[in-house]
Assembly symmetry: none
Homo-oligomer: 213 residues x 4
């Protein structure tokens, strides 16, 4: 182990530190929320000094933003995988399964919302946040459009808006404190989504569920 450590180049070592800090931030934010995640706590959780944190990030906000970016990347990849390369019906099934896991995403939703709240208050931060958010919305929009297409449907609205709506719904629901007996957020989301799809008019290209590529 010690030997393994010694073999790290400077760049590798730094990347490792960055990653560890982000991991620690993830954990602390999950525990205490954004506002409750102090730089002190994050550094401690990561096993570094506070200064080390400032050597790798220019402040608290950039850390959080990076966290969000990471999550969005993962999310987009997952959705991409669900929608891509298969017929629409199967996609819908898998989407339902995926949505069912969203319950465990409470922490991420909290982070996403807290950063949105912060963006409403700090113009400096808003600029950075908006960029990340906008990119993600555009990204998801394309996935949504593809999904509609694979089901032979025409989106009622700009796909980006639909995607944004789904994000809003998902985050909002994730946050709602509901008794375990109640339906999971995933089911509710699928109900909304199902209704939207059912209500969408068929696309001109007479694809229906047999389109391809």
């Amino acid at each position: 182990m010690a030997t393994a450590r010694k073999r790290l180049t400077r760049d590798e070592s730094q990347a490792q530190t960055r990653e560890r800090i982000l991991l620690a931030a993830r954990a602390v934010v999950a525990r205490n929320g954004f506002a409750g995640a102090s730089v002190r706590d994050i550094a401690e959780e990561a096993g570094y000094s506070q200064g080390a944190l400032y050597s790798n990030f220019s402040g608290k906000e950039p850390i959080m933003l990076e966290l969000l970016r990471q999550h969005m990347r993962e999310e987009a990849e997952q959705l991409q995988a669900i929608v891509k390369g298969s017929d629409g019906a199967a996609s819908l099934d898998r989407l339902g399964t995926w949505a069912g896991t969203l319950n465990s995403e409470v922490d991420w939703s909290m982070l996403a919302l807290e950063l949105q709240l912060l963006a409403h208050r700090s113009p400096t931060f808003a600029a950075d946040y908006d960029e990340v958010h906008e990119a993600h919305a555009k990204n998801l929009g394309q996935i949504v459009a593809e999904f509609y297409r694979s089901l032979g449907r025409e989106p009622q609205l700009d796909p980006r808006e639909l995607a944004a709506g789904c994000m809003a719904l998902a985050h909002g629901l994730a946050l709602q404190r509901r008794k375990d007996s109640e339906a999971p957020a995933g089911r509710l989301i699928m109900t909304f989504l199902g209704a939207l799809l059912a209500d969408a008019k068929p696309s001109e290209s007479p694809g229906s569920e047999d389109r391809e590529t």
Copy 2:
């Protein structure tokens, strides 16, 4: 003025103080958000000392909770008025108009979400919050049910869940920082809602007039 004051009974005077503090809290929260609304600021805005605030509320959280209660009450009343005593089509129209004003509700959405976030972190607060939230969801659920009924439709889900979904969607959208050029949140909400209604199967009891389209 002085005389007018003197006529107040002790209870009335205290109620007035409470109300003033709540009003001030509303203003400060709108300005700075929940986390940015310090007790000092609220007291100052209200024209009282910090101590006075603690004489009327047991802390910062109860104030915020009361604020949320007030807002929920108002919201329920507005929705009640929209749905009650008229045919479904007209209701739908008025609901669209009302949803269009939600853009200006950013402050409330922020407060609602910040309190939800707090509830996720503080078990003590969660107890109180859940009570308020639950009551509101039940309340809205009844309104939703009534709405579906007036349109001759059968809800796909527990009305309480549908209501919760709409709240989540509304709050989530209100928070999203979108460029003015884009569609307002209201339109998006109505699209989701319209799809849900269109997708709902007619109720057995042919309650009201059939629906359009």
Copy 3:
């Protein structure tokens, strides 16, 4: 003593706290200089919490500024007393004696200079500092003018400038680290002053007794 404490009204108590904080600040600044006088240290020296300090002053700078104001007031009073109500020759003597004590003023000179340095860097602070400085210069200028008059001399320059020059000289000298064997700053100042007076042309109005040499 305990009883004496209890008799303090709120205002008195606050004034006492303020005074204690200023006294503590004086001590800490003397020990460590302005930059080295941390709010923590001052609060500790005063026997209060840091928060107490912020209840009484809006920050570190205002404390220092108040300290400077106090000192300037005292200095002006001393000089006033020296110059006023006596013939010029006696004044000159007493001025020399007084200047001889300036060696012990190192701390004050350091404070004055550090604040001047700060004013050069912080525009916010500069505004406040300039006001204090300007007032003192004007004040001293009048005293200098009076002094010249009592000696039957005409100042070569705007008295305010002469005063400012003396202040600069005094502060600059106080700061110079000289071996104790050397002449005290006071003597040097008196040499400069003596030369200035000797070189000044007599005023037209034969005000007082003629001067020496």
Copy 4:
């Protein structure tokens, strides 16, 4: 380029690095003052790492001290040139011109004073500072003596003291934040100096012309 570099011996290269760091330090100090000149900023400005700075200097203070030494050397050379090899009257003229440029010397005065302040607080630094200061005072003292002699005057005091007084006056004035409308520091210095010279008694050895007002 690479070849040019290669031609430097180790010593030359190091000397170059040192010089670049000092130049950078000069710039940063001018911009932000002594306290505001962080090692990081200096290293960055110089285009080196922080570590490089510590390879060439043993800390921040030695850099500053070296800066001061450089400045003092330049100052002494300038004064030497003014006084040496010409009659007293012309010297006085040129001295006045030179003093008029002191306004632009704010940065140096600030550095000099900040180092003096530091010397008052840190005994370790004081030792080094005193040495530099003492050497300069002696140096200037000789120049002052020469100046008096060239004017056929006898200094009232140890020339070293007179020189120190002028430095103190110059630094103190440079720091004073005065409105542009007021007289420049140079004029004030010349007034003081003129008075001193006028008041000095002629030297026995009838050195040069004995001018008067």
